[in-house]
């Protein structure tokens, strides 16, 4: 049994809107799966169904092979969940709040104390252990939510936008924490911050209008970019037209686009016929014509663009 999280054909309708329309996924031990998608795409709804908070209209979900709806109590003991906004009881302190969670999770006495201490240490809550949660900064509140989820060291972690609203240092800390824990867990995080997918996720699923529209590693997704493998370059304006001519006549180039003409330069992009085109080839062509190149790089495809291309197909996936 390596699939710690499994969802099959999840569907959920809210009134007229089909929030989730047939989502199936599997997450293995050691994987960090990123849920990507625009707001309202169905990321949170999917997570709510996987955690058993929301009953799906169709489909099923299982944690470590335990069905979330047939055996909710057992399944819920096997995962930690950080809901959107990491809610916690504002009038409590991290100490009393985590004691409550630990008690509910069945820990007593020495075990309870050591579990809390470990979670507090991992989440970096030491300094505010006895402060009322309501008075804590957003970053600390988020860490309280995180500490609560990892307290019982569950095999499965599900986090809804765990770094939303945090400053760059806090984001870094949370991502490090996730990476540290990922080896022996299956983790799902939802986000709309694309760099996060590159930073922590071993795989990403793009959800749009309740459906999975892409599934793969961050690299896989970037391959889907229209401009993946294209060569962008900057030449001085006097030789701009010459450069366009040279590149257009090259056999491996499908099209040359002019992106802009800032400060006496031409910004050009050569789109290859095949997916890959050697930057060296472009450079050699231009050098042969004595056209000096100020800048030249191969487009990897930015995840933002992929995201837009996948989730807004009517836009034609046009790049900026």
């Amino acid at each position: 049994m390596t699939d710690l999280i499994e969802a099959v054909g999840l569907e959920k309708q809210f009134g007229e809107i089909k929030a989730v329309d047939g989502i199936s996924l599997k997450v293995e031990k050691g994987e960090v799966l990123g849920f990507l998608g625009p707001n309202g795409a169905g990321k949170s709804t999917t997570m709510k169904m996987i955690t058993g908070f929301l009953e799906p209209d169709a489909g099923r979900a299982a944690i470590c092979g335990v069905d979330v709806f047939e055996n909710p109590k057992k399944a819920k003991a096997l995962f930690g969940y950080v809901p959107e906004g990491a809610p916690s009881y504002a009038e409590m302190t991290p100490r009393t709040f985590l004691s409550f969670i630990a008690e509910i999770r069945g820990y007593r006495g020495v075990e309870l104390t050591s579990r809390i201490n470990r979670a507090v240490e991992r989440a970096g809550l030491g300094g505010v252990f006895d402060q009322v949660i309501d008075t804590l900064s957003k970053g600390y509140k988020r860490r309280v939510g995180l500490a609560q989820a990892i307290l019982h060291d569950p095999p499965v972690l599900i986090m809804d936008e765990p770094t939303d609203g945090l400053d760059p240092n806090q984001k870094h800390h949370v991502r490090e924490l996730i990476s540290d824990m990922s080896a022996d867990k299956a983790i799902i995080i939802s986000t709309h911050i694309l760099e996060e997918v590159e930073a922590v996720c071993s795989r990403a699923i793009v959800i749009n209008r309740g459906c999975i529209v892409a599934d793969g590693t961050a690299d896989d997704l970037m391959q889907r970019m229209h401009y993946h493998g294209a060569v962008s370059l900057k030449v001085i304006a006097e030789r701009g037209d010459a450069a366009i001519q040279v590149l257009s006549s090259a056999s491996s180039v499908a099209k040359v686009e002019t992106l802009g003409k800032p400060n006496g330069h031409f910004l050009l992009r050569a789109i290859p016929k095949q997916k890959e085109m050697a930057a060296a080839e472009v450079a050699a062509l231009l050098r042969a014509q004595n056209i000096p190149v100020d800048e030249l790089y191969v487009e990897r495809g930015r995840l933002d663009d992929v995201f837009r291309q996948i989730t807004m197909p009517e836009d034609g996936g046009s790049n900026d």
């Binding site: 819920k76 409590m92 999770r105």
Partner: protein, 248 residues
């Protein structure tokens, strides 16, 4: 079963601690004790009656509960839904029933504490005369049961909205209907345009009629069953409502 009560107890403890995290709980207790005292001595003419009983004290309980119990009940679920902690609570390894029971019992215990704090009145009447302490005890038990029934209604209403003020008003209104339904003026109006059995059915649902019976010292089985089934019914309704409403 034992696990259910274990978990309900853990949740009840958390809730009770939550009540006392702000001065609001102390304000509530003070208001309750002060109001029961004022109503007994000034409105209920405790001294002028010249009788060693606590009838004027208990007679005002249903009317006090109309405002004070919904005030305790309104935050039970409305707040959990508003702050999103319901999502946390309902994804912990507990059943909805355990959560609902825990919260209800905490609130009930809190009202029980308010009742206990009225003991100076009981001391007063025992100093001044020789009351029937059996009747006083059954009246306290009856009052506590009635508070539980009001509270269960409030618990249900609290699941329907994220707005505590709305929860308070609707709960007060429903409690008001259940209190009033036994009064003669409501009954005569009902009898005028509904079949007799309907009017008497409505009357038998009245908290007031059942409570008045208890304050006369009669704590019989039907009355106990009435209040307990009220509590069970409305808590059951809470379970269903939570299931429907939790994610909205």
């Amino acid at each position: 079963m034992i696990e259910t009560f274990d978990n309900a107890w853990i949740i009840a403890k958390r809730e009770l601690r939550g009540y006392f995290a702000t001065p609001l709980a102390l304000v509530f207790l003070t208001v309750f004790v002060a109001l029961t005292g004022a109503l007994t001595f000034y409105v209920g003419n405790f001294f002028e009656r010249g009788q060693a009983d606590l009838f004027p004290f208990f007679a005002y309980h249903p009317w006090l509960y109309l405002l004070l119990v919904p005030a305790v009940a309104m935050r039970l679920w409305a707040e959990e839904r508003k702050t999103g902690t319901i999502e946390l609570l309902m994804t912990l390894p507990i059943t909805p029933l355990e959560a609902i029971l825990g919260k209800f019992l905490a609130a009930w215990a809190f009202i029980g504490l308010a009742l206990v704090l009225t003991f100076p009145i009981w001391i007063t009447v025992n100093v001044l005369g020789d009351p029937d302490n059996g009747v006083i005890l059954t009246s306290y038990i009856g009052s506590f049961l009635m508070a539980g029934a009001f509270l269960a209604i409030g618990s249900f209403v609290s699941t329907l909205t994220k707005n505590q003020v709305i929860a308070f008003i609707i709960a007060s209104l429903i409690c008001f209907l259940f209190t009033m339904s036994g009064l003669e003026m409501v009954q005569s109006a009902l009898r005028a345009w509904t079949p007799a059995f309907f009017a008497s059915a409505i009357s038998s649902m009245s908290f007031l009629s059942h409570f008045e019976q208890i304050t006369r010292g009669v704590l019989d089985l039907p009355t106990l069953i009435f209040f307990f089934s009220m509590i069970v019914f409305w808590l059951f309704a809470t379970v269903i409502a939570i299931d429907q409403k939790k994610a909205q």
